[in-house]
């Protein structure tokens, strides 16, 4: 048997390249970013099935190719005044990594903005600057073209503990 038999081939997929890509979206006039590798797909807003006795920001569940995926309205999650869903309203379907398993969840946001390459060291820890999203769910801040981008920690934001904790209160 060949000596190298068991060596997994090391292919550089560019995952460790210095610049990561971020998908950004708009919510309440602020621009937020999420790691694009976590984005499964972007869908328009459509009928959801409400789930009883869940917090208001859980809009319900949808059928994503045969699996049941819950949707979280980010405005309601952070108690920002709701606006009616319009043509730009989108659902960003994300992969959330938790302690025990990976889940697929969707977030409802005002509109999708852009995709940026941001080098890791350009993302600075965020001071408590009184943004809509409380600081514990912010991974950091980055400036892109003179404007500020808030990079979200979606694992924390959409972790089961968080959802349960809020559900119980």
């Amino acid at each position: 048997m060949n000596e190298t038999a068991a060596q997994p081939s090391e292919i550089d997929l560019g995952l460790n390249a210095e610049a990561d890509q971020y998908l950004t979206f708009i919510m309440a006039d602020e621009e937020y970013g999420v790691d694009i590798l976590r984005v499964q797909e972007i869908r328009g807003w459509e009928h959801v099935t409400p789930v009883p006795n869940t917090p208001k920001y859980i809009k319900g569940v949808i059928n994503l190719r045969g699996t049941i995926v819950p949707l979280v309205d980010l405005r309601e999650r952070f108690s920002v005044e709701s606006i009616p869903y319009g043509p730009t309203t989108v659902v960003i379907v994300l992969k959330v990594v938790g302690d025990e398993k990976e889940r697929i969840m969707g977030i409802v946001v005002d509109a999708v903005a852009d995709v940026y390459n941001i080098e890791e060291e350009k993302i600075k820890p965020a001071p408590d600057f009184g943004s809509v999203v409380s600081i514990e769910y912010v991974q950091g801040l980055a400036s892109v073209d003179e404007s500020m981008l808030i990079v979200l920690d979606i694992d924390k934001l959409l972790s089961s503990d968080e959802l349960d904790a809020i559900a119980r209160t």
Binding site: N2, A6, P8, T49, P52, N53, I68
Partner: protein
Amino acid sequence: MSVDMSQFYQTFFDESFEGLDIMESGLLGLDIGAADAETINTVFRAAHSIKGGSATFGFTVVAEFTHLMETLLDEMRDGTRMVTEDSVDYLLKSVDCLKELLTAVQNESEYNEAFVEEVKAGLERLLHGDDVPVKVDGEVSDSSTSKPEIKGWNIEFKPAEYLLKTGNDPVRLINELSLLGKIETVCCIDNIPLFSEFNPELIYLSWSIVLHGNVQKEKISEVFEWVDDDADIVLTCIGGEQEQNNEEVSGVEVAAPVAPTEKIEVQAPVEKIEASLKSEIHDTDKKSSLKKTPKDQSSIRVSIDKVDDLINMVGELVITQSMLGQLGENVTPDSIEKLQDGLAQLERNTRELQESVMRIRMLPISFAFQRFPRMVRDLSNQLGKEIELRLLGEQTELDKTVMEKIGDPLVHLVRNSVDHGIETPDEREAAGKPRMGTVELNAFHQGGSIVIEINDDGKGIDKDVIFAKAVEKGVVNANDSLTDEQIFDLIFAPGFSTAAVVSDVSGRGVGMDVVKRNIRELGGTIEVKSEKGKGSTIIIRLPLTLAILDGQLIRVGADTYIIPLISIIESLQVKKEQISSIGGQAELYKLRDEYIPVVRLYETFGLKPDSEELVDGLIVIVEGDGSTAGLFVDDLLGQQQVVIKSLETNFRPVEGVSGATILGDGTVALILDVSGLINLSRQSSERAA
């Protein structure tokens, strides 16, 4: 060529665990003194396969251990060893031990070394106790270490006439020889017969070959290894020592030294694989991503027939689809009928396909039953009881997931029967019963369910004792009057144990309440029947599968929900005079002689209904977990089979909802959990009150 052996590990573990079960049931079925040869062979074969696989995949501990078992079994198979109670006990212990080893290897965890060594020592004692020398792997003396310089060999090679019929070819052998050194070949054609007698399938030639160079004899033997018995081969050393002359090659023995080297070669890469596996796990840990390692995958063995069925169905589906496609391209008024036919066919195909796919998940319940012969044997030895275990309906199929979840509750129930049900032989004799008690497991299909019965002819359950105990525990009042059924049901109450002395067998661990909860979680029911002095029967009913359910679609306002048909008793239009309310809060519906609490689904779930007037809608009488309620809904829609999807995969459990499904239009509908719903409404009315 490099082959990553780790990809075969899962299959190896699957088949080895299966092999262990085969060994265990085989061993348990052996009659001491009159052992059935085929059974021993089956057990031997399982051990043999595990040994072969573990050696191939580099699991040396397993291979070494299995070697001992195999040797013992081989002697039994040959008839050179008697099948004694003692040896069967040790083999059974070895099966446990092997299970431990395999599990440890699979999970890369530690194993109970003391236990393994003890069993190993026992096996060795059995083997060597009779002073039978046992060949140990790799213990082959190598006589070829210091050989003087050899200049070459004269080889006389005269194959047997029939050699070609063994698939061997002299030309190939000579070619192979030429790889060892320069050769000169002289072909002897003296034996070629007259043309009239010539048979082209036979070999009439022989060869004199000179092989030059310092070639070890073993190398030459290796070339001729397979034809040793089918040819005259004479080797003469050129320029070697006298004693080496004219030695016949003896294939098998000389070839033996190959074995140790083989082993080393196999082991090294496997260790690497394990190391790289470990480092991979380590890497993923760092990234906190949860990629499962292959060993966590669960797999299922599917018979070829089931797969063929599926392929046929998919074939039909493709035909229907292409037919519909053609019709769709060119729709005329008169093709409508054909289109409808096609759709009907599509529906049939889909249903058949669904059924076949579901059948793949179905396994015979013998998978769950097979552990009981051993368990009952061990327990009855331990308790000094004589018990015959009867297994009926072992081929009854049920869903793999249901099977996995019903295993532990069944173990508990069978333990209970053996421990508390069946009396000691003396007690039985005194009661006028045969000394040997019987525990019977019976499985059969009934409607859309599988029924598992556990019968014993033991002392039965004493209703008075149960009742007294329940009163003592405050579960019931001393002056309550309960039906037999209700009394037996008390044993499932939490913290309820009637064993006078908590025994080692069933006194610990889960209680009957946990058993009941597990069964309920599977959507099943459990029921006890018993007659004092005669025995007990426990009846478990389970759905055949967890993946599909027959549902009643209902509507409240704009939302559609599904109620499992199994929990619906009936649906009724409400008449005002049948509604009464207590304290202006709890509403009761009078159904014949019973008063049933009304649960307004829109209230419990916070929905907007068409109407809040009970007379405008319908009441669906549902039953779950022993309680009954009338669900108030706006309308009944159709009934259909739905595929159950978990809400927990991506979300979390929701009270009153057992899951979700996808309707024909692609939208999601929630499936109601009736008992959860009743609890939920009870809580909210308590809060309101």
